[in-house]
C-alpha cells in the first residue's frame, strides 16, 4: 500500500517522468496502431517491431554504448528497410502477404540475434542494458532518454491529429482519396514512417517481441465500443495509457519483473472485457439479443398457428395441439405461451388457448406482413409462388410499420396473396 501511494502520488520525480513517458508512447502507438488495425495491416506492426532489433544492435556497436540517438536512428533504419522489403516483395512476388510478413520478421530477428551474440562475446560492459530491448523495462528509462522518446511520441500524436482527414482517407478509401487529388503515395509513406517511429520509441519500455500488442490490442478493443473514429482513437489511447501505467507500477514494485509482459496482460484483459461485455458488439450482448430475437420469432409463429386455426373456423387450440404444431420444442412452446399470456395477447383456460382481441390484431399483423411480402416477391421479383414462403417466414419478424405502408401502397392494398389466401386487415372479421 505504501508502494502504491508512493508511486501514484509521484513524490519521486523520476517516477513522474516514467509515467509521463509511458503514457505518451502508449497513446502514440495506440493511435498509429488503430489506423493500421482499420487498414487490416495489424501484423505489419509485429514485423516492424521484430525488425528493429538488428538496427538497435548496429547502433550500439557504432556508438559503443547505449546512446539513445544512435539506437533510435539504427532502429528506424532497419524498421524502414523491413517495411520497404515487405512492400517490394508484395509487388514483385506471388507470395501471400502473411508469408512475406512472417519471413521478413524472422529473417530480421535472426540477423538481430547474430549481432546480439557478437556484442555479447565482445564483452562490452554496457551490454547488460541491451537485453532490455527484448522484453522492455520502463523503469530503466532515464530522463535524457525520455525527452527523445516522449518528444517523438508527441510528434506522432500531433501529426496524426492534425492530418486525421488524410489518414482516414488512406485507411478507408485510398482510391477515392487519389481521385479527389490527394497524394496518397506520400500519405502512405508518412504513415509508415510514423508507424516505425512508434515502434522504435516503444521498444525500450515494452520490448521487441511484445510491441505488437501495444499497436494491435488497443484499437481492436476500442473498436467494440464505438463506430466513430474520433472516439475510437481516444478510447484506444486511454486503454493503452492505463495499461502502461499499471505495467510500470508492477515493475516498480517487483524490480525483477520486466514491464512489457504486464502492460500486455493489462491490455489483453481490457480487450477481453470489451469483447465480452461491450454493448451491441460484445459477445454477451449479441448472445442476449439473439436469444430475445429467437424467443420473439417463436412467439410470432405460435400466434400465427392460432390465427390460421381461426381461419379454418376453430375458435381455440388445445395445448397438445400447439405442442404438435412445434414438434420437439414443448419447453420453448410453454415459455412462449407464458410470455404471451403476460403480454395479454392470449388467454389460457384449462387446456384451451384463445387469442385475445389485441392478440388477434397482433396475429393479423404478422400474417399480413408474411403474405404481403410473399405477394411482393411474386409480383416484383418474379419469384414463383412456391418459392416465396421461406423468405417471408424470416421477413415477417423484421418488417417495420413504415415498410408495411410502403408495401401496401406499392401493391395497391391487395386482398389475396399468391397462394390465394386472404390478407387480413384490422377491421376484417374472422
Amino acid at each position: 500500500m505504501e508502494d502504491f501511494l508512493y508511486f501514484f502520488t509521484f513524490q519521486d520525480a523520476s517516477i513522474a517522468f516514467v509515467v509521463i513517458g509511458i503514457t505518451l508512447l502508449g497513446i502514440g502507438s495506440a493511435y498509429v496502431g488503430t489506423y493500421s488495425f482499420l487498414d487490416k495491416k495489424a501484423l505489419l506492426g509485429d514485423a516492424i517491431s521484430h525488425a528493429v532489433l538488428p538496427g538497435i544492435c548496429l547502433g550500439f556497436i557504432l556508438a559503443g554504448e547505449k546512446n539513445p540517438i544512435y539506437i533510435v536512428t539504427g532502429a528506424f533504419a532497419s524498421g524502414a528497410l523491413a517495411t520497404f522489403l515487405i512492400s517490394w516483395l508484395r509487388s514483385k512476388t506471388k507470395l501471400s502477404e502473411d508469408a512475406i510478413i512472417a519471413s521478413i520478421l524472422s529473417i530480421f530477428f535472426g540477423f538481430g540475434i547474430v549481432l546480439l551474440t557478437v556484442i555479447q562475446k565482445s564483452g562490452n560492459p554496457e551490454m547488460a542494458g541491451l537485453n532490455q530491448f527484448i522484453f522492455g523495462n520502463a523503469i530503466a528509462i532515464l530522463e535524457e532518454d525520455l525527452y527523445i522518446y516522449g518528444g517523438l511520441a508527441l510528434v506522432i500524436i500531433i501529426i496524426l491529429t492534425l492530418f486525421q482527414k488524410e489518414f482516414s482517407l488512406l485507411v478507408f478509401n485510398p482510391d477515392f482519396g487519389k481521385a479527389i487529388g490527394y497524394p496518397m503515395e506520400s500519405i502512405r509513406l508518412i504513415f509508415n514512417v510514423l508507424m516505425i517511429l512508434a515502434v522504435v520509441i516503444g521498444i525500450q519500455a515494452i520490448g521487441v517481441v511484445l510491441m505488437a500488442a501495444l499497436l494491435i490490442t488497443p484499437g481492436a478493443a476500442a473498436r467494440f465500443w464505438t463506430d466513430r473514429l474520433g472516439i475510437l482513437l481516444i478510447l484506444a489511447g486511454a486503454f493503452s495509457a492505463v495499461s502502461g501505467i499499471l505495467g510500470t507500477y508492477v515493475s516498480f514494485v517487483l524490480p525483477q519483473m520486466p514491464t512489457g509482459p504486464w502492460v500486455v496482460v493489462c491490455l489483453s484483459l481490457l480487450a477481453l472485457i470489451s469483447f465480452l461485455f461491450a454493448p451491441k458488439k460484445g459477445v454477451l450482448s449479441r448472445f442476449i439479443a439473439r436469444n430475445a430475437y429467437l424467443k420473439k420469432t417463436h412467439q410470432d409463429h405460435l400466434m400465427k398457428t392460432l390465427y390460421k386455426s381461426m381461419e379454418e373456423g376453430r375458435k381455440f387450440l388445445t395445448i397438445d395441439e400447439i405442442y404438435q404444431a412445434f414438434p420437439h420444442q414443448s419447453g420453448k412452446s410453454i415459455n412462449s405461451i407464458h410470455r404471451l399470456i403476460r403480454k395479454g395477447l392470449i388467454t389460457k383456460n384449462l387446456q384451451v388457448i384463445i387469442l385475445t382481441d389485441s392478440g388477434k390484431s397482433e396475429a393479423k399483423r404478422i400474417v399480413r406482413l408474411h403474405r404481403l411480402w410473399e405477394l411482393y416477391l411474386n409480383e416484383y421479383m418474379n419469384i414463383a409462388p412456391d418459392h416465396v414462403h421461406d423468405s417471408a417466414e424470416k421477413l415477417e419478424h423484421l418488417l417495420t410499420p413504415e415498410l408495411e405502408t410502403l408495401l401496401e401502397k406499392r401493391l395497391n392494398f391487395p386482398k389475396l396473396d399468391p397462394h390465394q389466401e386472404n390478407i387480413p386487415r384490422d377491421h376484417d372479421d374472422l
Binding site: 501484423l43 508469408a99 510478413i101 519471413s103 535472426g110 557478437v118 562475446k121 509482459p261 489483453s268
Partner: protein, 292 residues
Amino acid sequence: MTFDQNAFLIIFTATLIAISCGLLGVFMMLRKMSMTGDAISHAVLPGIVIGFFISGSQRGLEVIIGAGILGILATLIIDWLRKRARVQLDASIGITFTLLFAIGIILINLLAYKVDLDQECVLYGEIAYLPIDLWISNSGINFGPRIMWLAVLNLGLVLTFILLLYKELTITSFDESFSLVIGLPAGAINLALMSMVSYTTVSSFEAVGAILVVALLVVPPATAFLWTKKLVPLIQLTCILGLVISVVGYYLAYLMDSSIAGMIVAVSGVIFLGSAFIKSLQPKLKLGTSGV
C-alpha cells in the same frame, strides 16, 4: 577442413530440425497460415514453463504435453476471437500470441528461483551446447546428444504424419470447401497440423529457440515457392534448402563466433531475398531476349 564430430552432430541436428519445420511450413504457407505458425511458436511458452515447473526438468513429458495443449489452445482462441467475437483475423492472431507470450515471460520471472530456464534460451536457443548434453541410459551407455535424438524422433513423426495424410493435407490446403463436400474432416486435419507444429516447436525450442523456429517454418518454403509452384518439387526444394542453410549457417557462425541458430536464419534470409531479387529481374530478361 578436418572432420569434426561436434560440427557434424550440430549440422546434422540443425538439418533435421530445418527439414521437419520446412515440411510442415509448406502446408502452413499453402493455407496462408504462416502467421498462425508464428503465433503458435510464441504461444507455447507458458505451456513449456508450466510443464517445466511440474516435471522439474526440460526432459519431462509434461513439457511436451503442456506446450501441445497451449499450441492447440492458441489456435482455438484465434478461432474463437475471429468467429464468435468477430475480431478481424490479423488482430486476433496478434492479440492471442502477445498475451500468451507475456504470460509465459511473467511465469518465468515468477518461478525464476524454481525453474532453470531463462528468457534468452527460450527465445534463441543454444544449439552449440548440444554435444555436451548427452543422453546416458541408466546402465551407463552413451547414446549421443539428447537433442539430436529428439530431432530424429520429431522428423520421424512429421514424416509419418505427412505421408499418412498427404492426400488429405493437399486437398484441404487447396480447396477446403471441396474437401468438406467429399467428407474430409477439414477442421480436424487443421487441428492435427497445428498440433504437429506445436510439438515441433517444443522439441526444437531448446536448440533453435521459439522465434527462430518461425523462421525455419516460413522462410525455406517461401524461398522454394519463388522457384516452383508444384507441390512435390516445392517439398524437395524446401528440404534441400534446410540442409544448405544448416551447413552454411554453422560455418559462418563458427567464423564470426555468433549464435548458430541466428546465423542459420540469417543465411536463409539472404537466400530468400536473393531469390526474390533474381526472380524480379527475370521477366525483364525474358522481355529483352524475345523482343521485337
